[in-house]
Symmetry: D2
Subunit: 353 residues, 4 copies
């Protein structure tokens, strides 16, 4: 598989560049009979549009999704669900200066080395706009998951080094930055203003939880559920670290403290494991954490090289987010949904769910 | 793909349970003409046998590998390389008490929920012995990588919360615990003795580096090189967190500090990214970190439930490591090698390497 | 993989129903740097439009293709090439009578059993319009193949039981029915008129040849090149048989007659094998044959059942081809091109081409 | 997937060369809880051993299978089922003369071109012994299918151009050549004697039927059930043609004659389609036909070339079958079983079976 499709049985392929004709995707393998409309996808896409918090780009696109196939009289038919979002607000000339130089911290260099050429406009395929396909596909996954009683939540728990003082994922959609606490956004606004004044950018940390996940999802060895989540989250641009449950803190704990004793009724006395044991869901809440690096498009001049390998200086123009939070939150959430939808269908093959 | 094979073009499937007849694997897709012998696999397997440092099990097996196919007159033929290691030193009766109870922190519960039955002896398929297949396959990958000028190194950088005071991966194979520094093993010995006295177990952190990796490996979107590494490392039992480059520290950095300026000659002024940008190798060293949880087999009685869901108490017998370090180090290294071998062959399809 | 994508490294996913919004596809894994425009796809698509010979439907659509991604300044970028063709000339009401009955010989029954519901309009996903995605993707494959010196030809060699008296594939594009001989179309016209008079439909046989294929393509066991061709051709609706080289005639031959002696210079004294030995291309021309069943939409009343399982009578309206030939010829040719493009990239991984 | 594994969810990988240490395979994805023993595999393997009819090799091996993993207390555990058969009766020196020349009609030439080297002993990986892995895996598939009420039958219906005068698949296991009729073996014996006298070899035709297959198996577009069968059967060495239902005869039929009218109760008035419509099983019997070419190892001297490309003469020694029938019959049957097992698990994901 050459890199633009994800999942075994609930499979999504995405396509599209930042300044091409359209971005979109194809969901293949979705069971028939689910109620699905463009509005379901649109609602999810609207959450990844700019406008939540101070950290966002000024590029404004309506990002209106159109479903091309796979839905008939309001229900999925079991055939591929293709959808597109047209690219509208393209100021490609903003990027002309990037045709021959590589932006530090971006994918530019790698693409050039890999393919021998690249679409230099706005990140091309590595643009955040690629994630539109993921989010729309995630909306389909969510419908399947909801039928199975599974809900996936996500929130920003840290921005610019400032952690939320409490964690409430359920309310995140109503808060700026999709923050995990009411108190964080005000502090984060201040941090963002400070960074902007320095031409600098920020990173953050996102937490994802899945509730209602039945025990038994995930394959024992190479298809471990945690490995799938790790691949899904690390495969989102800007993510540099992934944890399951206690993550790196578990490495500093001891077996006595870290084990989760089993209780009658399929319950556990604690959830250090984050809901996954031996690669298989335990029936507890799934808990995932992703580290998001600072946006590399800073407003100060940087050292780089040009296509001929000669030293150059670059100051990135265009319209950029200052922090991937909050827009990355629905993307990471969508990836978790895609993993779960796939794991759910895979488990059904065993005839035990 | 139901979970026991890994990789697209350089593909390994493993098989075997702790107390079954044999463990082993099949490497499919290895190019023809590589010099390969059982001694190459054996050398790698010997590194994951007990005996390095105080933390290891007393189960002693020679773990002698036999190659069944795919090698002719000392060279790979391009056909599947199958190999097995017989299970010898099986004291299955040690495990009879585990037939009807679930060990906290182990895969027991998940397997039972997933499959409706399980081989309760020594972890069955979730045993560390499964990793024999990975390590032997990794030895094949290493030969392919060496031909391409790529070397993969790994070392323990932290154990029981005690971090190495310096990092030298090249010397790790000669040190107890495959430690990243000369000074760490003595401190770790003491920490291990302390934990043993408490019937407790420890975790740690492993660092993997790959040197000589050409720019351009990895696919842009869902086959990102970092996503593949994340899946590979998180897919090893006991791993709860994975970082690429600065990982979680990057989330607390800023764009100005975190960007790696490009220099002439395909070099960079720093390597916060850990050698991967936009999912594609940059030509810098690949840097990965994995968090390893404490061994769940502790020597104290724990709460659990039995097959009927009734409360039970369990004290795990058998012969267990006290810490997955050092034995997990060659396993994680092997997984990184498998990812790189696969990415290398995938890149060759583009006719640019 | 749930059924709408094809190929390992040169991979195509198609989507779309006959009477949905659009049909199309995504080509993933195409190497960067190939010259590609919508005109290349359009030329291929025009060949599968109605109008060649008497056997075609009266449904007329311009089938104008739009490329949405993966091409920049006239060259492929290595990223997914998505394309769509809008469905225009939809007379869905023609199909309203089919909502509750199953057409004999069609996919209707299977879809209903598989998914529990179906888009009954014009075959839905099983419509011949699905093949638009294959043909457009095949046009991309052809560019890759042409660079490697490979040409794929196809022609109808039999229609309604009347075989061509000579075989000339090179001229087929210029002939009605894409016939393999100049003399056949007149006889076939007569056969078609006769069948039409009886409300009946016809089948035929298509031959595909690939020239310039290097020796060494195909995998030895389960990825045999002939197995891939068989899957590709049998996977086109209406195909009921596939042969490689002498096919069924080989089963009635003897070893002395059927073996192809090798000659110096990588040549062979004959080509009974059809260019494939042991699943691997020999360097000779690839020769494939596909049997195409009669169109099941006949203009006479047939016995069937309705959604409740009750007996019903059906006379299929709509606008239908009388024979899948000629329109299936470019589809089968495209499938062969897709197989070869994939096999070519797979072989490159071995670093020997 | 580089060529030695087959199937999506019920997946088999095979390994081994004719004169290597062992042949075998790994079945991954088999559901847990099936009763399975080595005797089940052995019974299937015994059917592909020499001794049925006059056409067989004199190489006699016990072909004793050993299960290495995946079975616990007589039941499958859901983990990979690995098995091996040791190669015993190796007279490798018989093949020394083949080190530098290519046998016409064999895979020798292709392997050399593909890999740059080859194991020349007895066909190496392209040997019929590779099919041991398929047959043993097929025995596992059969247990799964039997639980679902599906039976797969196979018989030789033609040998050396002499067709059975009646078709009775159920009795084939009791007849020489696994013939489809009582009267055929005597005629075939004579035909075989005649060919042997001429140093020649023969081909034949095999028919496979699957009974009890529920409607709904197979994916609509690229994972069509007939495409999977075509790939599975054409992927067996020596097969040059595959038909579903009426096959090539359907191409010469008309729509009126070829359509199968539907009857109440999920029945059909005829089965020209061979149980598959639109790539999906209809609930009727699946009917498949495979054309098997003559064994290329003839006992007369042939023209060929050597490794340096110079003209050479070859007379193949060793111990060879004169016709792939009967030994290919259980192999083709096993491949059909593997396809059905996979399709059955794939369908279960939809939660409708």
């Amino acid at each position: 598989m050459p890199g633009s499709s994800f999942g075994e049985l609930f499979r999504v392929a995405t396509f599209g560049e930042s300044h091409g004709t359209a971005v979109g995707g194809v969901v293949d393998g979705c069971p028939a009979g689910l109620a699905l409309s463009e509005a379901d996808m649109q609602r999810a896409l609207d959450r990844r549009r700019p406008g939540q918090g101070l950290s966002a780009t000024s590029r404004q696109e309506s990002d209106t999704v159109e479903i091309l196939s796979g839905v008939f009289e309001g229900r999925t038919t079991g055939t591929p669900i293709a959808f597109t979002v047209r690219n509208e607000n393209q100021r490609s000339k903003d990027y002309e200066s990037l045709r021959r130089v590589f932006r530090p911290g971006h994918a530019d260099w790698g693409y050039q080395q890999k393919f021998g050429l690249r679409d230099h406009r706005g990140g091309g395929r590595s643009s955040g706009r690629e994630t539109i396909g993921r989010v729309a596909a995630g909306a389909v996954a969510d419908i399947l998951l909801a039928e199975a009683g599974i809900a996936v939540l996500a929130a920003a728990v840290e921005l610019g080094g400032l952690a939320c003082r409490e964690i409430d994922l359920a309310g995140a959609l109503q808060r700026p930055y999709f923050a995990a606490s009411d108190e964080a956004p005000a502090r984060w606004d201040e941090r963002v203003r400070e960074a902007r004044g320095q031409g600098d950018t920020l990173g953050g940390i996102v937490r994802i939880e899945a509730r209602g996940v039945p025990a038994g999802l995930g394959e024992p060895v190479f298809g471990k559920l945690d490995a799938m989540f790790a691949s899904a989250l690390m495969g989102v641009g800007a993510v540099k670290g992934v944890e399951v449950g206690d993550g790196f803190a578990a490495a500093r704990s001891t077996g006595r403290a870290n084990n989760d004793p089993l209780l009658p009724g399929g319950r556990f006395a604690s959830n250090h494991a984050g809901g996954i044991l031996g690669g298989i869901s335990s029936g507890q809440d799934i808990v995932l954490t992703a580290a998001v690096k600072p946006i590399p498009s800073i407003a100060v001049e940087q050292d780089t090289v040009d296509l001929d390998g000669k030293p150059a200086r670059i100051k990135v123009g265009g319209r950029h987010d200052l922090c991937a939070i909050p827009r990355i939150v629905p993307v990471l959430r969508a990836m978790a949904s895609l993993v779960l939808a796939d794991a759910l269908l895979l488990q059904r093959r065993l005839g035990r769910s």
